[in-house]
Amino acid sequence: MSKFKANYFERNDSWPKIISTYLILSFFSLLTVFPILNLLTVAFKPGAGTFVADFAGFFQNFGIANFRDAFAMNLGTWIKNSLIISTMTAIIGVTVSITAAYAFSRFQFWGKRVGIMSFLLTQMFPAPMLLLPMNLILMKLNLMNSFYGLLIPYIATVVPFSVWMLKGYFDTIPKSLEESAYIDGCNLVQALFKIVLPLSLPALAITTLYSFMQAWSEYVIASVILRDPNMITLPVGLVSFVSSFGGMWGVYAASAVITSFPVMLLFMFLSKYLVGDLTSGGSKE
C-alpha cells in the first residue's frame, strides 16, 4: 500500500492529507462546474422561462427548441456582427502591437521607461472615464451605432496586453540570429519580418486568439455605443434576453451554449501559455 502511495503521490504525504487535498479540489471544482451544468440543462429544456436547476428532468424534457428559437430571433445577425468586429480587432490590434513590442524588446531608447509605464497605466483607467468622452465625440461625429466607433476602443484595450505578451516572447529569441541577418544584408524591418516573426508564430497565434476572445466577450463598451438592434454584438444581445421583463432564459441559455462554449474550451486549452508569459514577465530578475 505504501509503495502504491509512493508511486503516485509526494513521498511524505499522509493519507489524511491526500484525502483533504482531493476534498478541497473536488469542492471547488463542483462550484466552478455547477453553473455550466445548470446552463446546459436550461438550454435543452424547451420553453424554459426561468433558470431552474432541474437536473432530474434533463432527459425527460430534452429538446432543442430553444436553439431554433434563438436563431429565429436575430442570433445569426449578432454572431455575424461579433465575428466582424472581433476579427478586425484581433488583426489590427496585433499588427500594431508587433512593432511596438519589437521596439521595447530590442532597443534602448529615450522614453522607453515612460512608454512601458504608460502602457501599464492604460490598464488603470476606469472604463467610464474614457468611455464617456469617447461616447460624446462619437455622437458628434455621428459614429454611434457603427462598427468603427467600437473598433477603436477595442483595439486600444487589446494593444497593451499584446505588446506585453509579444515583448516577453521576443526577449527569448536570441539576438545573434538578427545580427547574422544584418551581415547578410537585411535591414531592420526585413530582420523583423523574415527572422523574428516566423519564429514567433506560436506567440502571435495566442495573442491573436486572446484579442479575438476579448472583443468577442466585451459587454460594457458595446452596450453604450451600439443601440440599433441590427448592429448590436452577441454580449449585448444575450444580456437583453434576460434583462427584459419576463426573461427568455431558455433562449438565453441556448445562445450562450452555442456562442461561448467554443471560446471557453479554446481558452482552457490556451491558459497554460497565457499565464506562463505573465509570470515570466513578472518574476524576471
Partner: protein, 356 residues
C-alpha cells in the same frame, strides 16, 4: 554609429508632427472650436513641440551604440502610439475638460464652463461616503478571497497527484467563460423563486432571499459572483510562482524538522511575493473598476444601495446623462487609483529600473 540621412530625419520629424497635430486639432475642435485661428494655434503648438521632442530624441539617442539607426525604435512605436493617443490621451484631456462644464443631454450643444462646481457637487453628494465605503468593501473582500482561494488551490495543485490536470482544467472555467455569460447565468441562479441558490437554502432551512430585489442582497450576490469569477486568475499566477520555487529548500526544511505552517510563512510566502504583488495590484485595480457584475445584476436603472463608484459613474453618464458631473466623478476615481498603485508599486519595489 551610422549617421542618419537627412530624408530619414525629416520623415521622423514629420511623423511626430502628424501625431501631435492630430491630437491638438481634435482637442481644439471638440473643446474650443475656434475655427481657423484655433487650427493655426494647434499647428504651431504641435510644430514647436514636435521639433523640441525630435531634438531631444536625437541628442539622447546619438550616444547609444546598439542602434543602427537611432530613429528606428520610434518608427516602430508609431502605430501603437497613434492608437493610444486617439483612444487614451485625447479622451483623457477631453474628460478633464468635461468635468469642468455643465454638459448634460439638455446642454449638449452649448455647454458652459463652470470650473470646479462639479467637484464641489461630488464632494457634497450625500451618497458619496456610502458609495466609497461600499467600493472599499467590494475591493477588499473580493481581492482577499481571490488571493486566499487561489493560493489554497495552487498549493493543492503543486504536487504529484493523479488527476491534477483534470482538476486544473475544471477550476479554470470561471476565467475561461465569457464574463457576461457567467454573470447572466449567476443572475438566473440567484432568482428568488426559481433559482438554485434559494432552493438549496430552503433545503437547509433558510427562508428564500430576494437577491435581486433588495439592493443590499444584490450587492452580496454580486460579491459572491465576482469571487467566483476572479479566483482562477490568482490560482494560475500562484501556481506559476510555486512551480518556480526549488524543491531543495523544502527538503532542507524537512531535515531541520520545520512545521508545515512555518514552511508556508517562511518559505512559500516570501518567495511568492515578487510574483503575487504585481498580480494583486492589477487584480485590485480590475476589481475596483469592475462594471459588469453590478451593472448586469442591478440593471442600469436600479437603486443606489448596490452601486460602487464605477457603476455609479456609469449610471450618471449613460442612464441619467449628467455628463459633466460623471466626468468629475471619474477624474476623482482615477486619481484615487493612481495614488494607490504608485504607493503599492513604490513600497513593494516591483518594476525596478533594472527590470525594464
Amino acid at each position: 554609429m551610422k549617421k542618419m540621412s537627412l530624408i530619414n530625419e525629416i520623415c521622423l520629424l514629420a511623423s511626430i508632427f502628424i501625431v501631435l497635430n492630430v491630437l491638438f486639432t481634435t482637442t481644439e475642435t471638440s473643446i474650443f472650436n475656434a475655427g481657423a485661428t484655433g487650427s493655426i494655434i494647434a499647428t504651431i503648438l504641435s510644430a514647436i513641440l514636435s521639433f523640441s521632442l525630435f531634438i531631444t530624441m536625437r541628442k539622447k539617442q546619438m550616444g547609444k551604440s546598439n542602434t543602427h539607426n537611432w530613429a528606428a525604435p520610434y518608427y516602430f512605436m508609431l502605430p501603437a502610439v497613434l492608437v493610444l493617443v486617439l483612444v487614451v490621451a485625447f479622451p483623457l484631456i477631453y474628460g478633464f475638460y468635461l468635468s469642468m462644464t455643465n454638459m448634460s443631454l439638455s446642454s449638449f450643444r452649448n455647454p458652459q464652463l463652470i470650473w470646479f462646481n462639479n467637484y464641489v457637487a461630488v464632494f457634497s453628494d450625500p451618497k458619496l461616503i456610502s458609495t466609497v465605503l461600499r467600493t472599499l468593501i467590494w475591493t477588499g473582500i473580493n481581492v482577499f478571497c481571490h488571493v486566499a482561494i487561489g493560493l489554497l488551490l495552487a498549493i493543492q495543485l503543486n504536487r504529484r497527484l493523479p488527476g491534477k490536470a483534470f482538476f486544473r482544467l475544471l477550476l479554470i472555467i470561471p476565467w475561461a467563460i465569457p464574463q457576461y455569460v457567467a454573470i447572466a447565468t449567476w443572475k438566473g441562479m440567484f432568482n428568488e423563486s426559481f433559482g438554485v441558490i434559494n432552493t438549496l437554502l430552503q433545503h437547509i432551512g433558510v427562508n428564500p432571499i430576494a437577491w435581486l430585489g433588495n439592493p443590499n442582497d444584490t450587492f452580496i450576490a454580486s460579491i459572491l459572483t465576482n469571487i467566483w469569477l476572479g479566483f482562477p486568475f490568482m490560482m494560475m499566477i500562484a501556481l506559476g510562482g510555486l512551480q518556480s520555487i526549488s524543491r531543495d529548500i523544502y527538503e532542507a526544511a524537512d531535515i531541520d524538522g520545520i512545521s508545515a505552517w512555518k514552511k508556508f510563512t517562511h518559505i512559500t510566502l516570501p518567495l511568492l511575493k515578487p510574483v503575487m504583488i504585481p498580480a494583486i495590484v492589477l487584480g485590485s485595480v480590475w476589481t475596483f473598476n469592475m462594471v459588469n457584475v453590478i451593472l448586469i445584476f442591478a440593471g442600469s436603472q436600479g437603486g443606489d444601495g448596490s452601486q460602487i463608484l464605477v457603476t455609479q459613474v456609469y449610471r450618471l453618464a449613460f442612464s441619467f446623462y449628467r455628463y459633466g458631473f460623471a466626468a468629475a466623478y471619474s477624474v476623482i476615481i482615477f486619481i484615487l487609483l493612481l495614488v494607490f498603485s504608485l504607493v503599492v508599486v513604490r513600497k513593494s519595489g516591483v518594476l525596478k529600473e533594472g527590470e525594464l
